[in-house]
Symmetry: C2
Subunit: 281 residues, 2 copies
Protein backbone atom coordinates (compact mmCIF):
# COMPACT_ATOMS: atom_id res chain seq x y z
CA UNK A 1 0.00 0.00 0.00
CA UNK A 2 1.35 3.39 -0.99
CA UNK A 3 0.32 6.14 1.35
CA UNK A 4 1.89 9.08 -0.40
CA UNK A 5 0.46 9.31 -3.89
CA UNK A 6 2.29 12.43 -4.84
CA UNK A 7 5.36 12.70 -2.71
CA UNK A 8 6.70 15.61 -4.74
CA UNK A 9 4.29 18.09 -3.24
CA UNK A 10 4.02 18.67 0.46
CA UNK A 11 0.82 19.28 2.35
CA UNK A 12 1.58 20.13 5.93
CA UNK A 13 -0.63 21.94 8.40
CA UNK A 14 -3.65 19.88 7.47
CA UNK A 15 -6.02 18.30 9.96
CA UNK A 16 -8.48 15.65 8.81
CA UNK A 17 -11.10 15.02 11.47
CA UNK A 18 -8.73 16.46 14.03
CA UNK A 19 -5.75 14.30 13.11
CA UNK A 20 -2.66 15.66 11.40
CA UNK A 21 -2.93 14.01 7.99
CA UNK A 22 -2.61 15.02 4.35
CA UNK A 23 -5.11 12.37 3.20
CA UNK A 24 -8.81 11.72 2.90
CA UNK A 25 -10.46 8.48 1.86
CA UNK A 26 -10.72 7.98 -1.88
CA UNK A 27 -14.46 7.29 -1.55
CA UNK A 28 -15.22 10.56 0.23
CA UNK A 29 -18.42 12.13 -1.07
CA UNK A 30 -16.71 15.49 -1.51
CA UNK A 31 -14.53 13.81 -4.12
CA UNK A 32 -17.36 11.84 -5.72
CA UNK A 33 -20.11 14.46 -5.83
CA UNK A 34 -18.80 17.70 -4.32
CA UNK A 35 -21.14 16.80 -1.46
CA UNK A 36 -20.15 19.38 1.10
CA UNK A 37 -19.31 22.96 2.00
CA UNK A 38 -16.24 25.10 2.55
CA UNK A 39 -15.11 28.30 4.17
CA UNK A 40 -12.02 30.39 3.47
CA UNK A 41 -11.07 32.17 6.66
CA UNK A 42 -8.52 34.92 7.29
CA UNK A 43 -6.69 34.16 10.55
CA UNK A 44 -4.49 36.57 12.51
CA UNK A 45 -2.54 35.35 15.52
CA UNK A 46 -4.72 32.29 15.75
CA UNK A 47 -7.98 34.28 15.69
CA UNK A 48 -10.27 34.07 12.67
CA UNK A 49 -11.69 37.34 11.40
CA UNK A 50 -15.49 37.47 11.25
CA UNK A 51 -15.75 34.01 12.73
CA UNK A 52 -19.45 34.21 13.52
CA UNK A 53 -20.27 35.22 9.95
CA UNK A 54 -18.38 32.22 8.58
CA UNK A 55 -20.17 29.96 11.03
CA UNK A 56 -23.57 31.41 10.11
CA UNK A 57 -22.95 30.76 6.43
CA UNK A 58 -21.70 27.26 7.16
CA UNK A 59 -24.74 26.53 9.30
CA UNK A 60 -27.07 27.80 6.58
CA UNK A 61 -25.30 25.53 4.09
CA UNK A 62 -25.62 22.59 6.47
CA UNK A 63 -29.35 23.20 6.71
CA UNK A 64 -29.77 23.22 2.94
CA UNK A 65 -27.66 20.10 2.36
CA UNK A 66 -28.76 18.19 5.46
CA UNK A 67 -25.34 18.20 7.11
CA UNK A 68 -24.51 18.64 10.77
CA UNK A 69 -22.74 21.88 11.67
CA UNK A 70 -19.49 20.99 13.44
CA UNK A 71 -18.76 22.23 16.94
CA UNK A 72 -17.38 25.75 16.82
CA UNK A 73 -15.02 25.19 19.69
CA UNK A 74 -13.55 22.15 17.94
CA UNK A 75 -13.08 24.15 14.74
CA UNK A 76 -11.50 27.06 16.59
CA UNK A 77 -9.06 24.76 18.35
CA UNK A 78 -8.14 23.09 15.08
CA UNK A 79 -7.63 26.45 13.36
CA UNK A 80 -5.27 27.43 16.16
CA UNK A 81 -3.39 24.17 15.71
CA UNK A 82 -2.86 24.53 11.95
CA UNK A 83 -1.91 28.20 12.15
CA UNK A 84 0.44 27.87 15.14
CA UNK A 85 3.60 29.89 14.55
CA UNK A 86 2.13 32.04 11.79
CA UNK A 87 1.11 35.64 12.38
CA UNK A 88 -1.35 35.60 9.52
CA UNK A 89 -2.72 32.77 7.39
CA UNK A 90 -5.61 31.63 5.23
CA UNK A 91 -7.43 28.62 6.60
CA UNK A 92 -9.51 26.52 4.28
CA UNK A 93 -12.19 24.48 5.99
CA UNK A 94 -13.93 21.72 4.03
CA UNK A 95 -16.93 19.92 5.48
CA UNK A 96 -17.89 16.82 3.53
CA UNK A 97 -20.78 14.45 4.11
CA UNK A 98 -18.13 11.80 4.51
CA UNK A 99 -16.77 8.59 3.09
CA UNK A 100 -18.22 5.22 2.40
CA UNK A 101 -21.38 5.46 0.31
CA UNK A 102 -21.24 5.13 -3.44
CA UNK A 103 -24.86 6.07 -4.29
CA UNK A 104 -26.26 9.60 -4.50
CA UNK A 105 -28.38 8.84 -1.44
CA UNK A 106 -26.14 9.26 1.61
CA UNK A 107 -25.91 6.37 4.06
CA UNK A 108 -27.79 6.75 7.31
CA UNK A 109 -24.53 6.33 9.21
CA UNK A 110 -22.40 8.86 7.29
CA UNK A 111 -19.60 10.23 9.38
CA UNK A 112 -18.76 13.69 8.11
CA UNK A 113 -15.21 14.58 7.08
CA UNK A 114 -13.70 17.89 8.09
CA UNK A 115 -10.48 19.07 6.50
CA UNK A 116 -8.74 22.12 7.93
CA UNK A 117 -5.70 23.40 6.08
CA UNK A 118 -3.53 26.47 6.62
CA UNK A 119 -2.03 28.34 3.67
CA UNK A 120 0.42 31.24 3.67
CA UNK A 121 -1.04 34.72 3.74
CA UNK A 122 -0.66 36.15 0.20
CA UNK A 123 0.89 39.44 1.36
CA UNK A 124 1.87 40.69 -2.08
CA UNK A 125 -1.46 39.82 -3.73
CA UNK A 126 -3.38 41.58 -0.95
CA UNK A 127 -1.19 44.66 -1.15
CA UNK A 128 -1.52 44.93 -4.92
CA UNK A 129 -5.29 44.49 -4.78
CA UNK A 130 -5.66 47.67 -2.73
CA UNK A 131 -4.40 49.62 -5.74
CA UNK A 132 -7.15 48.27 -7.94
CA UNK A 133 -7.74 45.70 -10.64
CA UNK A 134 -8.84 45.56 -14.25
CA UNK A 135 -11.87 43.34 -14.88
CA UNK A 136 -13.70 41.80 -17.79
CA UNK A 137 -17.02 40.05 -18.05
CA UNK A 138 -16.46 36.31 -18.50
CA UNK A 139 -18.09 34.28 -21.25
CA UNK A 140 -18.50 31.50 -18.69
CA UNK A 141 -21.97 31.86 -17.21
CA UNK A 142 -23.16 30.77 -13.79
CA UNK A 143 -26.22 28.53 -13.78
CA UNK A 144 -29.37 29.59 -11.91
CA UNK A 145 -29.96 27.16 -9.03
CA UNK A 146 -32.07 28.59 -6.20
CA UNK A 147 -31.55 25.44 -4.10
CA UNK A 148 -27.85 26.24 -3.74
CA UNK A 149 -27.81 30.02 -4.13
CA UNK A 150 -25.67 31.90 -1.63
CA UNK A 151 -24.09 28.97 0.19
CA UNK A 152 -20.45 28.02 -0.20
CA UNK A 153 -20.75 24.47 -1.52
CA UNK A 154 -18.12 22.32 -3.20
CA UNK A 155 -19.63 22.27 -6.71
CA UNK A 156 -17.35 24.88 -8.24
CA UNK A 157 -16.60 23.74 -11.77
CA UNK A 158 -18.12 26.94 -13.16
CA UNK A 159 -15.57 28.98 -11.21
CA UNK A 160 -12.75 26.76 -12.45
CA UNK A 161 -13.92 27.23 -16.05
CA UNK A 162 -14.12 31.00 -15.54
CA UNK A 163 -10.62 31.10 -14.02
CA UNK A 164 -9.29 29.10 -16.98
CA UNK A 165 -11.00 31.50 -19.36
CA UNK A 166 -9.40 34.49 -17.61
CA UNK A 167 -5.93 32.98 -17.94
CA UNK A 168 -6.07 33.95 -21.64
CA UNK A 169 -6.68 37.63 -20.86
CA UNK A 170 -4.75 40.54 -19.42
CA UNK A 171 -7.33 41.55 -16.86
CA UNK A 172 -6.87 40.15 -13.37
CA UNK A 173 -10.55 39.79 -12.51
CA UNK A 174 -13.46 38.06 -14.21
CA UNK A 175 -17.03 39.16 -13.56
CA UNK A 176 -19.69 36.48 -13.82
CA UNK A 177 -23.14 36.71 -15.35
CA UNK A 178 -25.86 34.19 -14.65
CA UNK A 179 -28.01 32.67 -17.39
CA UNK A 180 -30.44 35.62 -17.07
CA UNK A 181 -27.79 38.28 -17.83
CA UNK A 182 -27.53 39.33 -14.20
CA UNK A 183 -24.11 40.06 -12.76
CA UNK A 184 -23.49 37.78 -9.78
CA UNK A 185 -19.93 38.36 -8.56
CA UNK A 186 -16.29 38.13 -9.52
CA UNK A 187 -14.72 34.65 -9.55
CA UNK A 188 -13.77 34.63 -5.90
CA UNK A 189 -15.07 37.88 -4.52
CA UNK A 190 -18.33 39.81 -4.36
CA UNK A 191 -19.25 42.84 -6.43
CA UNK A 192 -20.47 46.26 -5.30
CA UNK A 193 -21.58 49.11 -7.56
CA UNK A 194 -21.62 52.61 -6.08
CA UNK A 195 -24.10 55.31 -7.13
CA UNK A 196 -23.38 58.52 -5.22
CA UNK A 197 -23.20 57.27 -1.65
CA UNK A 198 -25.47 54.28 -2.28
CA UNK A 199 -24.07 50.77 -2.72
CA UNK A 200 -25.75 48.09 -4.82
CA UNK A 201 -24.72 44.45 -4.65
CA UNK A 202 -26.22 41.49 -6.53
CA UNK A 203 -28.81 39.29 -4.87
CA UNK A 204 -27.46 35.81 -4.16
CA UNK A 205 -30.69 33.86 -3.97
CA UNK A 206 -30.27 32.03 -7.28
CA UNK A 207 -26.49 31.55 -7.55
CA UNK A 208 -23.17 32.82 -6.26
CA UNK A 209 -21.71 32.85 -2.77
CA UNK A 210 -22.81 35.24 -0.03
CA UNK A 211 -19.39 36.56 0.94
CA UNK A 212 -18.66 37.29 4.57
CA UNK A 213 -17.28 40.79 3.93
CA UNK A 214 -20.26 41.57 1.66
CA UNK A 215 -22.56 40.53 4.51
CA UNK A 216 -20.68 42.81 6.90
CA UNK A 217 -21.04 45.78 4.57
CA UNK A 218 -24.76 45.12 4.13
CA UNK A 219 -25.32 45.06 7.88
CA UNK A 220 -22.97 47.90 8.77
CA UNK A 221 -24.23 50.27 6.06
CA UNK A 222 -27.83 49.14 5.97
CA UNK A 223 -29.36 52.45 4.92
CA UNK A 224 -26.92 52.85 2.05
CA UNK A 225 -26.85 49.29 0.70
CA UNK A 226 -29.33 47.59 -1.55
CA UNK A 227 -29.53 44.03 -2.88
CA UNK A 228 -30.50 44.16 -6.53
CA UNK A 229 -30.53 42.36 -9.84
CA UNK A 230 -27.62 44.05 -11.58
CA UNK A 231 -26.93 44.14 -15.31
CA UNK A 232 -23.72 44.95 -17.16
CA UNK A 233 -24.99 48.28 -18.47
CA UNK A 234 -25.34 49.55 -14.89
CA UNK A 235 -21.53 49.52 -14.60
CA UNK A 236 -21.26 52.44 -17.02
CA UNK A 237 -23.65 54.42 -14.85
CA UNK A 238 -21.93 53.60 -11.55
CA UNK A 239 -19.72 56.22 -9.94
CA UNK A 240 -17.44 53.52 -8.46
CA UNK A 241 -17.16 49.74 -8.54
CA UNK A 242 -15.34 47.56 -6.04
CA UNK A 243 -14.91 43.90 -5.15
CA UNK A 244 -14.75 42.50 -1.64
CA UNK A 245 -13.55 39.29 -0.03
CA UNK A 246 -12.15 38.30 3.35
CA UNK A 247 -8.57 37.95 2.13
CA UNK A 248 -8.03 40.97 -0.08
CA UNK A 249 -10.60 43.22 1.58
CA UNK A 250 -11.93 46.08 -0.57
CA UNK A 251 -10.58 45.92 -4.13
CA UNK A 252 -11.18 48.96 -6.39
CA UNK A 253 -12.15 48.08 -9.96
CA UNK A 254 -10.26 50.32 -12.40
CA UNK A 255 -11.92 49.11 -15.59
CA UNK A 256 -14.49 46.66 -16.92
CA UNK A 257 -14.08 45.42 -20.51
CA UNK A 258 -11.91 48.46 -21.22
CA UNK A 259 -14.36 50.98 -19.77
CA UNK A 260 -12.35 53.07 -17.31
CA UNK A 261 -13.64 53.60 -13.79
CA UNK A 262 -12.11 55.65 -11.03
CA UNK A 263 -12.08 54.58 -7.42
CA UNK A 264 -13.82 57.31 -5.44
CA UNK A 265 -14.76 58.35 -1.93
CA UNK A 266 -17.01 55.38 -1.11
CA UNK A 267 -14.36 52.82 -2.03
CA UNK A 268 -11.85 54.76 0.08
CA UNK A 269 -14.37 55.01 2.92
CA UNK A 270 -14.91 51.23 2.83
CA UNK A 271 -11.17 50.58 2.85
CA UNK A 272 -10.79 52.82 5.90
CA UNK A 273 -13.79 51.26 7.65
CA UNK A 274 -12.38 47.80 7.01
CA UNK A 275 -8.94 48.74 8.26
CA UNK A 276 -10.45 50.17 11.45
CA UNK A 277 -12.85 47.32 12.10
CA UNK A 278 -10.01 44.80 11.68
CA UNK A 279 -7.89 46.65 14.20
CA UNK A 280 -10.71 46.94 16.71
CA UNK A 281 -10.36 44.35 19.46
CA UNK B 1 0.35 11.30 11.38
CA UNK B 2 -2.79 9.22 11.16
CA UNK B 3 -3.20 7.47 7.85
CA UNK B 4 -6.55 5.85 8.43
CA UNK B 5 -9.14 8.50 9.14
CA UNK B 6 -12.05 6.17 9.34
CA UNK B 7 -10.76 2.76 10.20
CA UNK B 8 -14.27 1.43 10.76
CA UNK B 9 -15.05 1.27 7.07
CA UNK B 10 -12.91 -0.63 4.64
CA UNK B 11 -12.08 0.49 1.16
CA UNK B 12 -10.28 -2.26 -0.65
CA UNK B 13 -9.90 -2.73 -4.38
CA UNK B 14 -9.05 0.89 -4.94
CA UNK B 15 -6.18 2.11 -7.10
CA UNK B 16 -5.04 5.72 -6.85
CA UNK B 17 -2.75 6.59 -9.76
CA UNK B 18 -2.07 2.92 -10.19
CA UNK B 19 -1.13 2.21 -6.60
CA UNK B 20 -3.27 0.17 -4.25
CA UNK B 21 -4.40 2.83 -1.78
CA UNK B 22 -7.62 3.97 -0.12
CA UNK B 23 -6.47 7.59 0.08
CA UNK B 24 -6.20 10.74 -1.96
CA UNK B 25 -4.56 13.97 -0.91
CA UNK B 26 -6.75 16.28 1.15
CA UNK B 27 -6.03 19.16 -1.24
CA UNK B 28 -7.20 17.30 -4.33
CA UNK B 29 -9.24 19.54 -6.61
CA UNK B 30 -11.98 16.94 -6.88
CA UNK B 31 -12.55 17.44 -3.16
CA UNK B 32 -12.19 21.22 -3.26
CA UNK B 33 -14.20 22.06 -6.39
CA UNK B 34 -15.51 18.83 -7.91
CA UNK B 35 -12.90 19.55 -10.59
CA UNK B 36 -13.04 16.32 -12.56
CA UNK B 37 -15.03 13.60 -14.25
CA UNK B 38 -16.22 10.09 -13.53
CA UNK B 39 -17.45 6.95 -15.21
CA UNK B 40 -19.45 4.08 -13.75
CA UNK B 41 -18.57 0.97 -15.70
CA UNK B 42 -20.14 -2.50 -15.66
CA UNK B 43 -17.37 -5.10 -15.76
CA UNK B 44 -17.78 -8.82 -16.49
CA UNK B 45 -14.82 -11.18 -16.17
CA UNK B 46 -12.45 -8.25 -16.25
CA UNK B 47 -13.94 -6.81 -19.43
CA UNK B 48 -15.85 -3.52 -19.28
CA UNK B 49 -19.11 -3.38 -21.19
CA UNK B 50 -19.31 -0.59 -23.80
CA UNK B 51 -15.79 0.47 -23.06
CA UNK B 52 -15.39 2.68 -26.09
CA UNK B 53 -18.57 4.59 -25.25
CA UNK B 54 -17.30 5.30 -21.74
CA UNK B 55 -13.98 6.44 -23.13
CA UNK B 56 -15.66 8.69 -25.69
CA UNK B 57 -17.71 10.40 -22.99
CA UNK B 58 -14.65 10.75 -20.78
CA UNK B 59 -12.65 12.24 -23.66
CA UNK B 60 -15.44 14.71 -24.42
CA UNK B 61 -15.48 15.73 -20.74
CA UNK B 62 -11.71 16.14 -20.76
CA UNK B 63 -11.98 18.46 -23.76
CA UNK B 64 -14.59 20.63 -22.03
CA UNK B 65 -12.70 20.84 -18.73
CA UNK B 66 -9.19 20.99 -20.18
CA UNK B 67 -8.07 17.67 -18.72
CA UNK B 68 -5.89 15.04 -20.35
CA UNK B 69 -7.64 11.79 -21.21
CA UNK B 70 -5.79 8.93 -19.51
CA UNK B 71 -4.28 6.08 -21.48
CA UNK B 72 -6.96 3.49 -22.24
CA UNK B 73 -4.56 0.59 -21.87
CA UNK B 74 -3.55 1.81 -18.41
CA UNK B 75 -7.19 2.14 -17.38
CA UNK B 76 -8.05 -1.30 -18.75
CA UNK B 77 -5.17 -2.89 -16.88
CA UNK B 78 -6.20 -1.13 -13.66
CA UNK B 79 -9.80 -2.23 -14.08
CA UNK B 80 -8.63 -5.81 -14.45
CA UNK B 81 -6.55 -5.42 -11.29
CA UNK B 82 -9.37 -4.09 -9.12
CA UNK B 83 -11.91 -6.62 -10.39
CA UNK B 84 -9.62 -9.65 -10.21
CA UNK B 85 -11.49 -12.60 -8.73
CA UNK B 86 -14.96 -11.15 -9.35
CA UNK B 87 -17.19 -12.41 -12.13
CA UNK B 88 -19.13 -9.16 -12.28
CA UNK B 89 -18.50 -5.77 -10.67
CA UNK B 90 -19.15 -2.06 -10.94
CA UNK B 91 -16.03 -0.01 -11.41
CA UNK B 92 -16.07 3.65 -10.57
CA UNK B 93 -13.41 5.70 -12.29
CA UNK B 94 -12.74 9.23 -11.05
CA UNK B 95 -10.44 11.54 -12.99
CA UNK B 96 -9.50 14.68 -11.04
CA UNK B 97 -7.38 17.60 -12.16
CA UNK B 98 -5.17 16.69 -9.23
CA UNK B 99 -3.80 17.94 -5.94
CA UNK B 100 -1.79 20.91 -4.88
CA UNK B 101 -3.41 24.15 -6.05
CA UNK B 102 -5.75 26.06 -3.78
CA UNK B 103 -7.00 28.68 -6.28
CA UNK B 104 -9.70 28.15 -8.88
CA UNK B 105 -7.08 28.53 -11.58
CA UNK B 106 -5.29 25.18 -11.88
CA UNK B 107 -1.52 25.16 -11.62
CA UNK B 108 0.43 24.74 -14.82
CA UNK B 109 2.04 21.60 -13.40
CA UNK B 110 -1.12 19.82 -12.15
CA UNK B 111 -0.70 16.07 -12.05
CA UNK B 112 -4.09 14.48 -12.53
CA UNK B 113 -5.43 12.00 -9.99
CA UNK B 114 -7.16 8.85 -11.13
CA UNK B 115 -9.12 6.73 -8.69
CA UNK B 116 -10.37 3.33 -9.78
CA UNK B 117 -12.55 1.44 -7.35
CA UNK B 118 -14.44 -1.86 -7.69
CA UNK B 119 -17.81 -2.33 -6.03
CA UNK B 120 -19.92 -5.49 -5.79
CA UNK B 121 -22.43 -6.07 -8.55
CA UNK B 122 -25.90 -5.25 -7.13
CA UNK B 123 -27.50 -8.50 -8.32
CA UNK B 124 -30.77 -8.08 -6.42
CA UNK B 125 -31.26 -4.43 -7.39
CA UNK B 126 -30.64 -5.25 -11.06
CA UNK B 127 -33.04 -8.20 -10.99
CA UNK B 128 -35.81 -6.19 -9.34
CA UNK B 129 -35.40 -3.30 -11.77
CA UNK B 130 -36.32 -5.55 -14.71
CA UNK B 131 -39.81 -5.87 -13.20
CA UNK B 132 -40.32 -2.13 -13.24
CA UNK B 133 -40.29 0.85 -10.92
CA UNK B 134 -42.66 3.53 -9.69
CA UNK B 135 -41.47 7.09 -10.31
CA UNK B 136 -42.32 10.60 -9.25
CA UNK B 137 -41.21 13.98 -10.52
CA UNK B 138 -38.78 15.53 -8.02
CA UNK B 139 -39.20 19.03 -6.67
CA UNK B 140 -35.42 19.35 -6.92
CA UNK B 141 -34.67 20.98 -10.27
CA UNK B 142 -31.53 20.65 -12.35
CA UNK B 143 -29.89 23.92 -13.34
CA UNK B 144 -29.40 24.78 -16.99
CA UNK B 145 -25.66 24.91 -17.72
CA UNK B 146 -24.77 24.38 -21.39
CA UNK B 147 -21.02 24.42 -20.60
CA UNK B 148 -21.36 21.16 -18.67
CA UNK B 149 -24.39 19.56 -20.31
CA UNK B 150 -24.05 15.87 -21.12
CA UNK B 151 -20.65 15.17 -19.55
CA UNK B 152 -20.23 13.16 -16.38
CA UNK B 153 -18.54 15.70 -14.12
CA UNK B 154 -18.13 15.62 -10.35
CA UNK B 155 -20.50 18.50 -9.47
CA UNK B 156 -23.43 16.39 -8.42
CA UNK B 157 -25.02 18.13 -5.45
CA UNK B 158 -28.30 18.43 -7.33
CA UNK B 159 -28.46 14.66 -7.66
CA UNK B 160 -27.68 14.24 -3.96
CA UNK B 161 -30.48 16.67 -3.07
CA UNK B 162 -32.88 14.82 -5.36
CA UNK B 163 -31.93 11.46 -3.83
CA UNK B 164 -32.48 12.89 -0.35
CA UNK B 165 -35.87 14.21 -1.43
CA UNK B 166 -36.85 10.77 -2.76
CA UNK B 167 -35.98 9.11 0.54
CA UNK B 168 -39.20 10.61 1.92
CA UNK B 169 -41.36 8.96 -0.73
CA UNK B 170 -42.51 5.47 -1.63
CA UNK B 171 -41.51 5.59 -5.26
CA UNK B 172 -38.10 4.18 -6.12
CA UNK B 173 -37.25 6.60 -8.91
CA UNK B 174 -37.14 10.37 -9.13
CA UNK B 175 -37.51 12.14 -12.47
CA UNK B 176 -35.73 15.46 -12.82
CA UNK B 177 -36.93 18.64 -14.48
CA UNK B 178 -34.63 21.44 -15.45
CA UNK B 179 -35.38 25.08 -14.71
CA UNK B 180 -37.32 25.33 -18.01
CA UNK B 181 -39.78 22.52 -17.11
CA UNK B 182 -38.06 20.04 -19.39
CA UNK B 183 -37.62 16.48 -18.18
CA UNK B 184 -33.92 15.61 -18.22
CA UNK B 185 -33.51 12.14 -16.73
CA UNK B 186 -33.99 10.06 -13.61
CA UNK B 187 -31.48 10.56 -10.80
CA UNK B 188 -28.97 8.03 -12.07
CA UNK B 189 -30.41 6.78 -15.31
CA UNK B 190 -31.70 8.18 -18.59
CA UNK B 191 -35.32 8.47 -19.63
CA UNK B 192 -37.06 7.19 -22.77
CA UNK B 193 -40.69 7.80 -23.74
CA UNK B 194 -42.24 5.45 -26.29
CA UNK B 195 -44.92 6.52 -28.78
CA UNK B 196 -45.96 3.55 -30.91
CA UNK B 197 -42.61 2.21 -32.07
CA UNK B 198 -40.84 5.59 -31.80
CA UNK B 199 -38.58 6.43 -28.85
CA UNK B 200 -38.07 9.97 -27.54
CA UNK B 201 -35.29 10.82 -25.12
CA UNK B 202 -34.40 14.23 -23.66
CA UNK B 203 -31.68 16.33 -25.22
CA UNK B 204 -28.64 16.62 -22.94
CA UNK B 205 -27.08 19.79 -24.28
CA UNK B 206 -28.00 21.99 -21.32
CA UNK B 207 -27.84 19.60 -18.35
CA UNK B 208 -27.89 15.92 -17.41
CA UNK B 209 -25.53 13.11 -18.29
CA UNK B 210 -25.40 11.43 -21.70
CA UNK B 211 -25.70 7.84 -20.52
CA UNK B 212 -23.76 5.15 -22.31
CA UNK B 213 -26.76 2.83 -22.77
CA UNK B 214 -28.87 5.76 -23.99
CA UNK B 215 -26.16 6.49 -26.55
CA UNK B 216 -26.21 2.87 -27.68
CA UNK B 217 -29.96 2.91 -28.17
CA UNK B 218 -29.79 6.15 -30.14
CA UNK B 219 -27.17 4.70 -32.49
CA UNK B 220 -28.63 1.21 -32.79
CA UNK B 221 -32.23 2.38 -33.40
CA UNK B 222 -31.45 5.58 -35.24
CA UNK B 223 -34.58 5.68 -37.37
CA UNK B 224 -36.85 5.13 -34.38
CA UNK B 225 -35.17 7.43 -31.83
CA UNK B 226 -35.47 11.17 -31.48
CA UNK B 227 -33.77 13.64 -29.14
CA UNK B 228 -36.36 16.12 -27.92
CA UNK B 229 -37.31 18.65 -25.29
CA UNK B 230 -39.73 16.58 -23.21
CA UNK B 231 -42.34 17.90 -20.80
CA UNK B 232 -44.19 16.10 -18.01
CA UNK B 233 -47.52 16.13 -19.84
CA UNK B 234 -46.00 14.01 -22.61
CA UNK B 235 -45.79 11.12 -20.16
CA UNK B 236 -49.57 10.75 -20.13
CA UNK B 237 -49.55 10.47 -23.92
CA UNK B 238 -46.68 7.97 -24.10
CA UNK B 239 -47.49 4.31 -24.74
CA UNK B 240 -44.51 3.18 -22.63
CA UNK B 241 -41.81 4.77 -20.51
CA UNK B 242 -38.50 3.21 -19.51
CA UNK B 243 -35.23 4.18 -17.87
CA UNK B 244 -31.80 2.96 -18.91
CA UNK B 245 -28.35 2.78 -17.38
CA UNK B 246 -25.32 0.53 -17.72
CA UNK B 247 -25.89 -1.30 -14.45
CA UNK B 248 -29.62 -2.02 -14.41
CA UNK B 249 -30.13 -2.02 -18.17
CA UNK B 250 -33.70 -1.32 -19.34
CA UNK B 251 -36.01 -0.45 -16.45
CA UNK B 252 -39.77 -0.29 -17.17
CA UNK B 253 -41.58 2.60 -15.49
CA UNK B 254 -44.88 1.41 -14.01
CA UNK B 255 -46.17 4.78 -12.84
CA UNK B 256 -45.28 8.47 -12.67
CA UNK B 257 -46.84 10.54 -9.88
CA UNK B 258 -49.54 7.89 -9.52
CA UNK B 259 -50.38 7.78 -13.22
CA UNK B 260 -50.22 4.11 -14.18
CA UNK B 261 -48.21 3.05 -17.21
CA UNK B 262 -47.85 -0.41 -18.67
CA UNK B 263 -44.58 -1.73 -20.03
CA UNK B 264 -45.23 -2.75 -23.63
CA UNK B 265 -43.60 -4.30 -26.66
CA UNK B 266 -40.88 -1.69 -27.17
CA UNK B 267 -39.61 -1.96 -23.59
CA UNK B 268 -39.59 -5.75 -23.96
CA UNK B 269 -37.82 -5.46 -27.33
CA UNK B 270 -35.13 -3.25 -25.76
CA UNK B 271 -34.64 -5.68 -22.89
CA UNK B 272 -34.19 -8.54 -25.36
CA UNK B 273 -31.86 -6.48 -27.57
CA UNK B 274 -29.77 -5.57 -24.55
CA UNK B 275 -29.59 -9.15 -23.34
CA UNK B 276 -28.46 -10.31 -26.78
CA UNK B 277 -25.94 -7.55 -27.34
CA UNK B 278 -24.38 -8.23 -23.93
CA UNK B 279 -23.99 -11.90 -24.74
CA UNK B 280 -22.50 -11.23 -28.13
CA UNK B 281 -18.71 -11.64 -28.04
Amino acid sequence: MVLVNDAGKSLTDCLVNGELSPFVRADDRALAFGDGLWERVAVVNGTPWWWQDHMNRLRRGCELLGLTAPSQSVLLREIQTVTAGRRQAIVKLILSRGAGSVAYLPGSDQEQTRVITAYPWPEERVRKAQLGVAARVCKTRIAVQPLLGGINHLNRLEMVLAAREMADHEEQEGLLLDANDHLISAIDSNLVLVFGDQMLTPRMDRSGVRGVLRGRIIREFKARTELRRITVDMIAEASEVFLCDVVRGIVPVLSVDGLELSPGPVTAEMQTWLEESRNRP
